[in-house]
Amino acid sequence: MLDYILRRVLLLVPVFLAVSVIIFLILHLIPGDPVDNLLRVGSNAEARARIEAKYGLDRPLVVQYGIWLANLVQGDLGSSIITRRPVSTMIAQVLPNSLMLGGFALLFSTIFGVIFGVIAATWRDRWPDQMLMGGVLLGSTLPSFWLGLLLILTFSVQLGWFPVSGARGWESLVLPVLTIGLGGMALVARVTRVAMVEAAGRDFVLLLHAKGLSPTHIRLRHVLRHAMIPVVTILALRIGWVLGGAVTVEYVFARPGLGLTLIKALAQHDYPVVQACLLMLAIAVMLGTLLGDILQALMDPRVRSALT
């Protein structure tokens, strides 16, 4: 198993390099020149050359990439073209927000999604199932900005339980986590339910009943265990999404995070910041997949056997 993890991590190195090349190149291929932003209107070509030299934009692409990567590995993400602050500082400021929001949202979706999925599968086609699945359908179709505003109206404005916006204290985390987590919860509940119904129809479950085990024991110790395998995969794939896809929620709740930083930097053609944000997201996706694979191997001995 340890061997597998090590090999799996090593495998990430070439993937990381490929991703870094793409991230590096994308910004040189998309239209829009950041130097224009830095130049005062009417500046001459000399000023332009000076700025390009300062940011290394006049060198060949390969050299630019080499320098960029070398700095990157040392934790130097360059400095923002717009604010002139080190990008690493900017990222360090927003990343905890994103991690916290994403982490809690995932935790919330997992716990409640699995619980609701189990309940729905247990009382399949009866009222608990119909009620929960109805709610899930609603939860997965509501756009998150709308849900966010709805939650703010109810719990902040009307009831005054939580702050309207900001990133201070755990209270400010509740509503954003709910806004993102509800959608994830709906997804997890749906997958759990389907996977449980599927697993409950397998041959070995019949034999478990024949062994005289209680239905609850069978459901929680055997059927749920099998159902968790696809659920874990989906959750792992969601890690990257939750980190980067929270833009609307960050916007609605005015919580600066990775998503918002990325959008802003894109609009301003702030290359280094865009690169850093994309890199963070790519790393999150890679680590998410890695985590998913490891968990799957831990949960399923057949996967483990296939590895060795």
Partner: protein, 319 residues
């Protein structure tokens, strides 16, 4: 009598796949339940083990009296103490019978822990002992294996160990060897037969292999399209089959190379539940059918025990 099934009738939704089965089985006895694919053997096993509700079925008439209690009349909660503890099931396909993500030792241990109140250590010792007796080499190591790491024959032995672990009185084995290759089949059947003699178990052995029945069964119940054709002691049944269907089954005892479940000797197929013909359900395929066969034949008790459901039972010696 340990098990006495009377007029067992099963409904699944709108269909009635089993109608009025009666047979008995005592301790130390092996009853062979035979019939072509689709004749209702597995459903009979489910009815006896109380598992019909799992597939949306129920016993709609008749009784399944086990050790003095009618299981058909018990609610699910009172049925469970019988399952595994007193009536064990060995299912058709060992490949899919075990939980693929649990070590096989644990899957056997749970029986002694649940039904005999043993602690983990005692249960494991018992499991190892059982596996040894089922002639599984390196049984301690095997306990730590997952199902996919074992061969089919090994898995089926694990399933049998699971069935034996709580010392049941009755084992229902639904085609325990169909999925295995021939040598392993013989071994498993042999082991099962031994256990019955040694421990005074009752075994209901479901199969469509008349050859196996001839080898090990004391009595035979022949099922056709959800009805019992004939049930008698194995010796007389093989020597002088009375029901034309039994006769046909014996005439085409599967020889090597035949697809399991097919009876090349009898033209036609078992009808599906929705298309059971009126009268004797065998009449479209029967060589002896006449006008009388439009009526459902009664089960006629025989002088040598057992019964035959046919308007024109064959009297002549077979051969």
């Amino acid at each position: 009598m340990l098990l006495s099934v009377e007029n067992l009738t099963v409904r699944i939704g709108k269909v009635e796949p089993l109608s009025g089965l009666s047979f008995t089985l005592d301790r130390g006895e092996i009853l062979g339940l035979v019939g072509e694919s689709g004749s209702g053997k597995s459903l009979t096993a489910m009815a006896v083990t109380g598992l019909l509700p799992l597939i949306g079925g129920r016993i709609s008439a008749g009784s399944v009296v086990f050790d003095g209690t009618d299981l058909a009349a018990l609610p699910e909660a009172r049925l469970r103490p019988y399952r595994g503890k007193r009536i064990a099931l060995v299912t058709q396909n060992p490949m899919t019978a075990l939980d693929p993500v649990q070590r096989v030792g644990d899957q056997v241990d749970i029986m002694a822990r649940l039904h005999l109140g043993m602690d983990a250590k005692a249960a494991r010792a018992r499991t190892v002992d059982l596996l040894n007796r089922l002639r599984i080499p390196e049984s301690r190591t095997v306990c730590d294996a997952y199902p996919h790491q074992l061969s089919g024959g090994m898995k089926q032995r694990i399933v049998i160990a699971m069935a034996l672990a709580a010392e049941p009185d009755l084992i229902v084995a639904d085609e325990p060897t169909t999925a295995l290759d021939v040598t392993v089949q013989a071994q498993i059947i042999h082991i099962l037969g031994e256990l019955v003699r040694e421990r005074g178990l009752a075994l209901m052995l479901i199969t469509h292999d008349m050859g196996v029945v001839a080898q090990v069964c004391d009595r035979v119940a022949v099922l056709y399209a959800g009805r019992l054709a004939e049930t008698r002691e194995a010796g007389p049944l093989f020597a002088r089959p009375r029901h034309p269907y039994t006769r046909a089954l014996i005439d085409c005892i599967p020889r090597e190379g035949m697809a399991p479940g097919s009876l090349t000797g009898i033209p036609g197929l078992v009808p599906s539940v929705a298309q059971y013909p009126a009268g004797c359900r065998f009449h479209p395929r029967c060589l002896h059918a006449d006008a009388a066969c439009q009526q459902v034949p009664e089960a006629r008790p025989q002088a040598d025990g057992g019964s035959v459901s046919c308007h024109h039972p064959m009297e002549a010696d077979h051969g």
